[in-house]
């Protein structure tokens, strides 16, 4: 049972959290201006790197806040957590 450090509540067991996929995928300003191709990129396509990956988590059984985390997909080690709106910190994997 991994610990995930909620930026508000501190480390809690992963069972309290909900996964939200890749971070920093913004809802397009004007979806109607996008081609089908561009829209499909937004809806269906996500990165799948081997290594550090910025993703969103929600502390769903705790403070219900969404936040971002950089996880090394090879080890599951959480290299950093940061609040929504903050820039992704530099990490070393």
């Amino acid at each position: 049972m991994q610990l995930i450090p909620c930026p508000w509540c501190g480390p809690r067991e992963e069972a309290e959290f909900h996964y939200g996929g890749q971070a920093h995928v913004a809802y397009p300003e004007d979806p109607s201006a996008l081609s089908d191709e561009e829209w499909a990129q937004y809806v269906f396509f996500r990165e799948n790197p081997s290594g550090p990956f910025a993703e969103r988590w929600s502390h769903s059984a705790g403070c219900r806040r969404w936040f971002n985390a950089v996880r090394d997909t090879r080890t599951h080690d959480l290299l950093a957590v940061y609040r929504v709106g903050e820039p992704m910190p530099e990490v070393t994997a």
Binding site: M1, W8, G10, R12, E16, A61, C63, R64, R65
Partner: protein, 191 residues
């Protein structure tokens, strides 16, 4: 006539003494407040006679116009105000008055959760069977308030001087009571 979620459990919970003193405190007034403006937070605190908690995962208590009131930190802009029964309508009005036009919300959630007070020599042991948060006094001193999981239900857990106050969603209350009674089995034989 009102019926509390654990009305049918009074005797079964009482039977857990002396290892565990479990009491439902029904019909408490509870209001969920969403607010982040510091002035509004201060105004709300003034109106209730209790300073809102500034530190995550804590609660504060005070006494004012509405008697003993507690304010629980639930999130960076989310609080739960709890007070004696039958005050929810007036407290909601007072909080709305304090909020004025500032961004935020006040919702009466009194029947959303029921309140259970857990005391006795085995209270911490019993919770440790289902709660992964460290409740050792060094890690969770009096005034701690965490939202977490107890076995398979969410709870809000307050650490008091002499035990714990647990808020559980009304629909999960019977599961919570059944779990608690079962967890206490071993301690009934050897209190």
């Amino acid at each position: 006539m009102t019926v509390s979620p654990l009305a049918a459990w009074t005797d079964r919970l009482a039977a857990l003494a002396p290892a565990l003193d479990v009491t439902e405190v029904p019909f408490r007034s509870q209001l969920t407040v969403r607010v982040s403006d510091p002035d509004a937070i201060a105004a709300m605190g003034d109106a209730l006679g209790v300073r809102f908690p500034a530190v995550p995962c804590t609660f504060s208590a005070g006494t004012g116009e509405f008697g003993a009131v507690e304010v629980l930190w639930l999130g960076p802009d989310e609080f739960l105000v709890t007070a004696s029964p039958d005050l929810q309508v007036t407290i909601e009005e007072v909080l709305r008055g304090a909020l004025q036009d500032v961004r935020g919300s006040v919702v009466d959630t009194s029947a959303q959760r029921t309140t259970v007070v857990l005391q006795g020599p085995r209270a911490r042991d019993v919770l440790a069977h289902g709660c992964s948060v460290d409740l050792h006094p060094a890690s969770a001193p009096r005034g701690t308030c965490v939202q977490t999981l107890l076995a398979r239900t969410g709870i809000v857990l307050q650490v008091n001087d002499d035990g714990y106050t647990i808020l559980v969603r009304s629909s999960f209350a019977e599961y919570f009571a059944a779990w608690l009674a079962d967890a206490a089995t071993e301690y009934l034989a050897v209190p």
